[in-house]
Amino acid sequence: MRTDSMSNGMIEFRKELFADERDDTLNEIGKPTRRQDILGHVTGRSPFYDDHLFHGLLHMRCARSPHHAARIRRIDTTEAELSPGVVRVLTGRDVPLNLNTLLSLLDFGIDDEPVLSTDRVRYRGEPVAAVIAESEAAAREAAAKVRVEWEVLPHVLDVEEAIRPGAPVVLEIYPGNRFVYHGRYDHQKLRFGDVEAAFRTADHIIEGRYQISPIEQAPIETCGAIAAPETNDRYVCYTSTQALFFSLATTSKLLRLPSSRLHFIGGTVGGGFGGKVDSVHEPLAVLGAMLTGRPVKFMWDREEEMQVGGPRGAERWYIKDGVMRDGRIVARKFTGYFDSGAYTRLTSYAVIKAVGHLPGPYTIPNVHADVYCVFTNRTPATAMRGFGITGVDFAIEAHMDKVAEAVGMNPIDLRILNAYRDGDMKAHRRVAKNCALIECCQVVAEKAGVQLTSASRAASSRQGGGGERGRIPAHTALDQVGRVEGFDTGSYARKPARQAQATAARPAAAAPAPAPPQPRVPRLEPSRAASAAPPIPPAPAQPAQTGGPARSGPIRFSSISGFRRR
């Protein structure tokens, strides 16, 4: 039955499954061809960014905040500049455009994060100055001599404390400590059917709370970049980035430099796992090369990689299921909190990815989710393997085990009973296709000697879906909870203003009274607080933030270019 010849007891290819959907007679596809780069890797000769050393290479190290939150009264670099071997000390004033949000290249979000903070720090480890010196040791020594007068501010570290009224505000542009979606809500909603009505008909209600702590990507090669002036009025940058043009475009934007003057080289990276997309190093390394005229390396050491490099962010999830006696899940409700840390980076996007994933690989007729991107005074989170999905999959599958116990079912039978199949309607209102969850469950049960019911053994992803399961519910309960005012309709994708066609079936609990009509304001200047918290005066303007809207970078590398009128 198992036709694969490569099976060695630890791995097998179940070619008999879905065989009619494949042509297995190709020449190169499906062959275990040896990697073209393997000889270099196993002999230690593949060149990584840190192997591109230059004569006269300078080294950059940052001076960082020891506080979770503080106002900067003064940064004194005098002593650092006099330290032996120091060539130059950079502060925020040296950065041409000292404010960015990573996804501005996708036209998503508001610029919120300085390269080097000038007025305020929002997490322990936030950089305030960058020392450039003849050796790493000299740079390290001088970075310790940067004197900062701090005014320590209250901070908040817990996602649910952060969204309570009166919590310390992490980021002034988001006074409720929540990212604003579509200019409308302080979270992303998913509404499919009516969970509350379904809960009333369910035999069991099963609730749970789950949490995953931050995790380090832990690549062997720490993040970094080496930049050098080229003779043709350009700058070359060797980088560990996972996204070459993302890093190039970010550098171009922050340094106000046309992309034609940047030559980025990478492509062979010592492990990424999501931790090398933040483009933290390239702008500073190139800026250092510009201001010193010499090659500059900016590379994290292991401590920085672990404590100031963006981790997989923490998540907290609440799940409530309505389940029938026979194991069918008829309603599932989520409340999710993604801990973004002090700035947005990519967490706003992780939330949308997670929402598109709910309720997991199951067909559930009523689904409701409120998922929040919450700002706290910790290291900004970023991408990691399974981004936006790993945490909620942990929650869903730990919860499924509880559901199985509550209804007295084998946990694999429970999964197969509820599994999505070809033709089913998913909660994000697209039809499922190319499903294979049932077959994976069956193969594992067989391997582990778990006895499934005959119905589970006979189930197929290709049969039994669609029909009633393929329809959007006739009625979906909508609400206005979490409505905010004063933000322009910024969104991942601009949506033409349209009225929600389904009628709101439930009163808008906790929704603020409709605000009087007010003139449209630029998205950069939220005119009203998003929560009940008193308005916070805006932070002092960034010195380099002049010259037009900060978020319009010099170049965009996305199909969304031109998608939006400015």
Binding site: I11, R14, K31, S213, F245, R302, I352, V444, Y492, S559
Partner: protein, 340 residues
């Protein structure tokens, strides 16, 4: 005091490619005069095998042996734009761009061959070993090298191609969350066996049995490498790793690998992998990209196995001996479930 064994199950799916789309990747392919091809990308090989999988895709599409193709990655002066290697998008997005570029180059090569053989290009096929011949008449053939030479030195044509792949950007409805997140999904299911020490609270993963559905396995060795490494990472996420052990308190944050713990070779559990291949309709040769999802089922399977072994629910990751011991103490000792 005793060791308790338990088994836990989890099943997941995983969205392939950047959510909502709007993330193009491009590829350029060209041949030397002797019919050796270069694929130019700005995509990144993180160790996952980007260069190798795109090389196989290009060779398959061109109809030449894989030895005749090399992939050059990530020089912004020579490689066309790519959004990057993240979100399980490399194989899916870049692979499709490479197919398009290779098809264009192949068409030029076949036209040159047709002219040399004085036949219609539509009647030509490649054998994947460096020859082009008339369909059904293997003796009427020309090598790919001769065809590329003829194209460049006799017909004055460049054997090259451009490719781009884009899934258009999806909107997201603020009120309902309606959206088109991605175009295909990978799948996985797993049973994990653990051993829980009720004296120390330590948890050891002793065996993993998995089934991963990855679309077509474009290179089975690269797939295996991803699945083994990824499952190891999942196991590490479940019971070892965090930068904030007392989250949300920031105290005791690790700063090196002696305080940031990960399982070493001695901690690795045997992992019995079954690979299922249901080709993705829009994936390159049906490929999906197994890289991210393979870690995900391990985390819940481990906590479910701990419950099976001692009756303690660990709902906050990572599992630590402290959490296990507190759970055991709260319920007055181990209460094995043995349901699976």
């Amino acid at each position: 005091m005793a060791l308790h064994r338990g088994r836990g199950f989890a099943a997941v799916n995983y969205p392939i490619g950047m959510n909502l789309g709007g993330d193009p990747s491009q590829a350029l392919v060209h041949a030397n005069p002797d019919g050796k091809f270069t694929v130019s990308l700005s995509s990144i090989d993180l160790g996952q095998g980007m260069k190798s999988v795109t090389r196989q895709i290009a060779a398959e599409t061109l109809g030449v042996p894989v030895e005749d193709v090399y992939v050059d990655t990530a020089d912004s002066d020579t490689g066309p734009h790519c959004m990057g290697s993240f979100a399980s998008r490399g194989t899916h997005r870049v692979g499709n761009a490479v197919i398009q570029a290779a098809q264009e180059a192949r068409a030029v090569m076949l036209e040159a061959a047709a002219e040399e053989l004085e036949v219609d290009a539509a009647d030509l096929v490649t054998d994947g070993r460096g020859n082009i011949h008339v369909r059904g008449a293997p003796s009427r053939s020309i090598t790919t090298m001769a065809a590329c030479q003829a194209a460049q030195f006799r017909h004055g044509r460049t054997v090259s191609g451009r490719g781009i792949f884009l899934i258009p950007l999806s909107e997201v409805d603020p009120d309902t969350g309606e959206m088109t997140p991605v175009s295909c999904f990978a799948h996985a299911a797993m049973i994990v066996e653990v051993e829980v020490d009720d004296e120390t609270g330590e948890v050891r993963v002793t065996d993993m049995k998995s089934a991963y559905e990855v679309g077509r396995a474009l290179n089975p060795k690269l797939v295996e490498q991803q699945l083994r490494g990824g499952a190891w990472m999942g196991m590490s996420h479940a019971a070892w790793e965090t930068t904030e052990p007392y989250y949300p308190d920031r105290a005791h944050g690790p700063v090196d690998f002696s305080s940031y713990l990960m399982p070493g070779p001695g901690d690795l559990a045997p992992h019995h992998i079954s690979i299922l291949e249901r080709p993705a309709p829009d994936g390159p040769f049906g490929g999906k990209g197994p890289g991210e999802m393979c870690a995900n089922p391990v985390l819940p399977a481990v906590v479910n196995a701990i419950y099976d072994a001692v009756g303690v629910r660990i709902d906050e990751l990572p599992v630590t001996p402290e959490k296990v011991l507190r759970g055991l103490r709260a319920q007055g000792g181990a209460r094995p479930r043995k349901r699976l």
